[in-house]
């Protein structure tokens, strides 16, 4: 019986699993699809372009004097903070769009194709790193225009940027998970904001930790976002690699290790 079937299967042997290589290839193809979609609907990029520009301007000029005495002194503090906050919150969009996308008929076709089950998810997430890259670039450029000249130099700034993009990609698996399990796109937005808002604001992103009450300091200091912000500050401002970099990367790896399988399983259960 298998020969019957194999005969039409374009000469490929039939197997009931997908190899790692195929999973990677499928994911890259799906990422290519994501990029094409972004190119076709550039208005999707509105948020990633506007938010860094707006937030950087607002926060710097509003808090600069109060927190650091002057805008120029505040820039090395706020730019890494804004960067992390902006890019991480951009990853919410990933979850929302995934939810919207999954409702479209084309996902039925993806499900009916003999491709790796993880590919439609991994591809979408991978394509969205383009958004993070745009947000990262714009934040640094805005900072530069306002007078932020990080001492770490271009190389370390680039490393800091890549770090933030990588961590945002990891975090986007959390929102992808919500995207898969939630019933509507707007509820994904809602849940994600509730998770993200405290995480980004209860951190050292905008203000020095030592002005906060003790119990809050405790949370702020264990908050992974704080570690990421510190890592970025060290890289960009002084060109040093500290323990916070390691903590951030480990945190990112843990998130992916937990949420990627959860998300894929939830995605498959929906079928």
């Amino acid at each position: 019986m298998s020969t019957t079937a194999a005969k039409r299967g374009a000469g490929r042997p039939l197997k009931n699993y997908t190899s790692f290589g195929q999973s990677v290839r499928n994911s890259l193809t799906m990422a290519y699809r994501g990029l094409l979609k972004i190119r076709r609907t550039p208005e999707q990029l509105f948020d990633v372009t506007l938010q860094p520009i707006l937030f950087t301007l607002m926060f710097t000029y509003i808090f600069g004097g109060a927190i650091s005495g002057s805008v120029s002194d505040y820039l090395p503090v706020i730019i890494p903070g804004i960067l992390v906050q902006t890019v991480i919150s951009t990853s919410i969009v990933t979850g929302v769009q995934l939810r919207e996308d999954m409702e479209k008929g084309v996902f039925d076709r993806f499900k009916s194709l003999p491709i790796a089950r993880i590919a439609p998810l991994a591809g979408a997430l991978l394509a969205d790193t383009v958004r993070y890259a745009i947000a990262t670039l714009l934040t640094f450029v805005m900072g530069y225009i306002m007078g932020y000249h990080p001492d770490g130099g271009l190389g370390y700034v680039a490393i800091a940027g890549v770090l933030v993009i990588a961590c945002s990609w990891a975090v986007s698996w959390i929102f992808a998970f919500f995207g898969v399990i939630a019933r509507t796109a707007s509820s994904v937005q809602g849940i994600s904001m509730i998770v993200l808002f405290p995480l980004t604001f209860l951190s050292n992103a905008f203000v020095p930790v030592d002005t906060m009450p003790g119990w809050l300091q405790w949370f702020v200091n264990i908050n992974p976002i704080s570690h990421l912000v510190t890592a970025v500050r060290e890289l960009a401002n002084t060109g040093t690699v500290g323990p916070d970099l390691a903590i951030s990367l480990i945190g990112a790896a843990v998130i992916v290790a937990v949420f990627a399988p959860l998300t894929v399983r939830a995605y498959m259960r929906r079928t």
Binding site: T4, K7, R8, R33, D108, A119
Partner: protein, 343 residues
């Protein structure tokens, strides 16, 4: 019967492209599919006919690994749908009821991406896309975003996307709904051509006419159950090539009139909800004369008589004892004509 592809091997395996046993799917307490059996021979066109909400789409989605079944089992070319879904996916192409192509991309981009996902190389994928667009008459619109496509174009692209890997089994869920007559005829030709090249096609439709034109065998589904199954001819014979409608002047005569109709035509009739109306299948229109004579002999006066081709509604009325539109309220009067399933 003609298992046109992989003949020897297919025959050894019974030649079944699809074997489904007791498929069940429940949504809440709605048994959308309630014990459906389907057997589709390799190399044939199989039609699943049924009204809105009958469970056609749900059945196809379960067979195509898109929906988990709650009961029963299904095999595609001998491979279990639940245990070996990834193999099954390598053997099928699915064109869903609603366009399963990417709205935000162009036709070429869609086909290239699906081709790449199916393992074709970059150049090969481009060539395949161009080839399919040509075949389906979409070359001119290839670069336009799908948002500007008409329903028919979208449908064709959808089908083209299902054919990239030349799958031996193709599911088509209402492939011609919403198409104009010319496009429908084109789609029919495409489907026939597919089967000529060795594919098996399982399609659903709401039109008896379409099943008639295309399908070698038909299953009629209603409320999640197969209510009749057979070749087109068998099904037609059960409903009659044409349907006789009678209206009796005096309602009191209806019992006697039905007896005469059944006796003369050698079929079972049904009395419809409308007062004094009798419907019966007819194999030969010539019998009508005999019937009229017999009725006059019995002193039964007719208000109206007509002989018509059966519509889907009437097929349903005949087979299930209730019409398509009133399928929410099962009629107590069961005058089943069709016992085709056992033929």
């Amino acid at each position: 019967m003609a298992a046109r592809y992989g003949n020897a091997e297919a025959e050894k395996d019974g030649g079944w492209a699809v074997e489904a046993r007791g498929l069940v799917k429940t949504f809440g307490d709605n048994r959308a599919v309630d014990g459906v059996d389907l057997n589709v021979r390799a190399g044939s066109i199989y039609g699943v006919l049924g009204p809105n909400g009958a469970g056609k789409t749900t059945t196809i989605r379960m067979l195509a690994t898109l929906l988990r079944m709650d009961g029963g089992s299904a095999r595609i070319f001998g491979y279990d749908v639940e245990k070996e879904p990834q193999i099954v996916r390598q053997l099928i192409g699915v064109t869903g009821q609603y366009a399963s192509v990417d709205e935000s991309l162009s036709a070429t981009e869609n086909l290239v991406i699906f081709s790449r996902l199916l393992g074709l190389g970059r150049a090969e994928a481009r060539r395949k896309a161009a080839e399919l667009l040509e075949e389906f008459g979409l070359t001119e619109a290839a670069k336009r975003p799908l948002k500007q496509f008409s329903g028919g174009m979208r449908r064709r692209l959808d089908l083209a996307a299902s054919l990239i890997a030349q799958p031996p089994l193709i599911f088509l869920d209402e492939p011609t709904t919403g198409l104009d007559p010319r496009t429908r005829a084109q789609m029919w030709n495409t489907i026939r051509r597919l089967v000529k090249t060795g594919s098996t096609v399982l399609l659903t439709t709401q039109y008896l006419d379409e099943a008639d034109q295309l399908a070698d065998r038909i299953a009629v589904i209603d409320r999640g159950r197969v209510v009749a199954e057979g070749t087109v001819d068998e099904l037609k014979a059960s409903v009659g090539n044409s349907l006789l409608h009678l209206r009796i002047e005096d309602q009191g005569d209806i019992r006697e009139a039905r007896r005469i109709v059944e006796q003369v035509l050698q079929v079972r009739s049904s009395a419809s909800a409308e007062a004094g109306k009798i419907t019966a299948p007819m194999a030969e229109t010539g019998r009508v004369t005999d019937l009229l004579i017999a009725l006059r002999g019995a002193g039964i006066h007719l208000a109206e008589i007509s002989v018509q081709k059966p519509t889907l509604d009437e097929v349903f009325l005949a087979i299930t004892g209730h019409g398509v539109k009133e399928n929410e309220s099962p009629e107590s009067e069961k005058s089943n004509v069709a016992e085709v399933a056992s033929v």
